[in-house]
Symmetry: C2
Subunit: 155 residues, 2 copies
């Protein structure tokens, strides 16, 4: 049998993180975070997609609450907002291993690949330091054409 998804990991942290802020652990918040945990780190979901996916698994959460929860979880550092101008605001799980990851996006078909790079992080840290800033996060967006679309453009 498939192991029952155990949102214990982050959800346990969720309860106490919320408590520290005088906020409550609700089924809705568990559902949203649980969804991101189920689908893993690679996923980039919009608010609408989160709402739809939860509906499909019979976990009703109103769209307004999805928005409120995405904002909350982002401000808590559990989710991370993506910066892809193509296709609106999206969110993904912000696991520690994922803090220095970058996006390679095909501007024609939207195909997105992730990659990591120590060099980029170093460059970001250097720039922040030189301007007296304290680095929080650094994300490289590479806009490109994938193999197929590149070929199609030649026509």
């Amino acid at each position: 049998m498939p192991a029952p998804a155990t949102p214990a990991l982050a959800s346990g942290g969720l309860r106490s993180s919320l408590h520290d802020r005088g906020q409550r652990l609700t089924p809705q918040r568990q559902r949203v975070l649980g969804l991101f945990e189920r689908i893993g780190e690679g996923a980039h979901l919009s608010a609408e997609e989160v709402h739809q996916r939860l509906l499909r698994s019979d976990e009703r959460v109103s769209l307004a609450t999805v928005y409120r929860t995405l904002r909350l979880l982002s401000s808590m550092g559990l989710l991370q907002e993506l910066e892809l101008p193509e296709g609106g605001r999206r969110f993904e799980l912000a696991s520690a291993a994922h803090r220095d990851h970058h996006h390679l996006v095909c501007v024609r078909c939207g195909q997105t690949e992730e990659f990591e790079s120590a060099a980029v992080l170093e460059a970001g840290e250097l720039a922040a330091h030189q301007h007296g800033f304290r680095l929080l996060e650094c994300v490289l967006n590479v806009r490109a054409l994938c193999r197929c679309c590149s070929a199609a453009e030649q026509l």
Copy 2:
């Protein structure tokens, strides 16, 4: 006397670029591009700001046309859309010298610094190559806290 702003450079290219696409050179399009040329490469303007600044210099362009023109000039590669989630869509002049420039943004007050980095471009090219993509542009967004805001957060 101050040299009369000569939008000849890009505007000359503008006329022919437009012509190639079967489109026309209008005063409105010249005004929008001229504004970006006047204020130089460092500026990041929203549609609303473009509209306001043009009004202030008595160059009337309707907001709808500003939006249409920003989109047109971006698709022509003369302007470039920024990818700063804080504070909405912004545009800047896309000069050749500016193709590999990055943004250091204070997430609290919005202060934005630009910087360049050959290392970042190399990393982007490497990633694109490894996935079989053809690189168009690569932009590093460093989210950070500026000195002041960093100090304020400690309180």
